[in-house]
């Protein structure tokens, strides 16, 4: 896992050539990869995802009418992806929140590798 994360950063080098970060953290790339993979497997159309992304962006903009800062794009991308998974019943909600709780309380340092 760790090697993959680092390798992933290395492969981001071409888009970084113009001085832009494409993914700020590995999880953003993972979410992007998952969303595209499931679409390519035919579990939903890209437009179904896109509609939810539009909605999550619109909701953010409604909630932050005077914001000078931009939203975190991949936060909203993740929200859209989670909503789509829920709508398609691809994940059990209870199972997900249980696993999140479990991962959150695991011993300190375990998630270190995902932050690089």
């Amino acid at each position: 896992m760790r090697e993959t994360e680092y390798g992933l950063q290395g492969r981001l080098a071409p888009p970084l050539a113009n001085g832009e970060l494409v993914f700020e953290a590995p999880w953003q790339g993972r979410v992007f990869g998952m969303a595209r993979s499931l679409c390519e497997s035919g579990l939903y159309s890209w437009d179904e995802f896109r509609q939810r992304l539009i909605k999550s962006i619109a909701l953010w903009e409604l909630a932050n009418p005077d914001a000078q800062d931009s939203y975190e794009y991949y936060d909203l991308f993740l929200t859209a992806f989670e909503n789509l998974l829920a709508d398609k019943d691809l994940l059990g909600g209870a199972v997900l929140s249980g696993l999140i709780a479990e991962l959150t309380t695991r011993p300190h340092g375990h998630d270190h590798e995902h932050e690089h």
């Binding site: 992933l8 492969r11 953290a25 993972r30 992007f32 990869g33 994940l91 997900l96 932050e115």
Partner: protein
Amino acid sequence: MSETTEQAIRAEAIELLLREKGLVSEAQIDGIIQQYNARTGPLNGAYLVARAWADAAFKAALLQDGTRAMEPFNFSGGEVQKLVVKENTPQTHNLVVCTLCSCYPWAVLGLPPRWYKDPAYRSRVVKEPRKVLGEFGVNLPDSSLVKVWDSSAEIRYMVLPQRPSGSEGMSEAELAELVTRDSMIGVELLD
């Protein structure tokens, strides 16, 4: 950072569950990420631009029907339902945005830059395109016309930048080297 960590954990949990269910594999996800970086990247668009500079007939075909003109290139993956290419000239400067979300011609330009998704870029570029262009270092004469093209799920726009002076006699491969992603979005002039 705590928010990022929370998102990282959510993403990790989702991935674990999806993998457990056999809906996705680690290799698949890696493959997609690689595809949109290594194989698609801005270079595909650069090939189209270089060919258009070198070959007037191809340029005419590209401007007439971008989707059809790029077919022989066999660019894999990506989201180009309908590619429309807009040519920059000394009189007209074209600029691409998606005001609704962040529609972008991935298959030719790779992943969008971060600023492309910013609400600031998306809204301001329509209201004050010259000012936004100025912030990118693109200062156009008042006499030139600026056209802003709003992408959608159905139509993705790409800019055909003006060929830089001094590039006469270059091969197509050399020309492609000159083409940047930003010039194909319309926020950079090549010279």
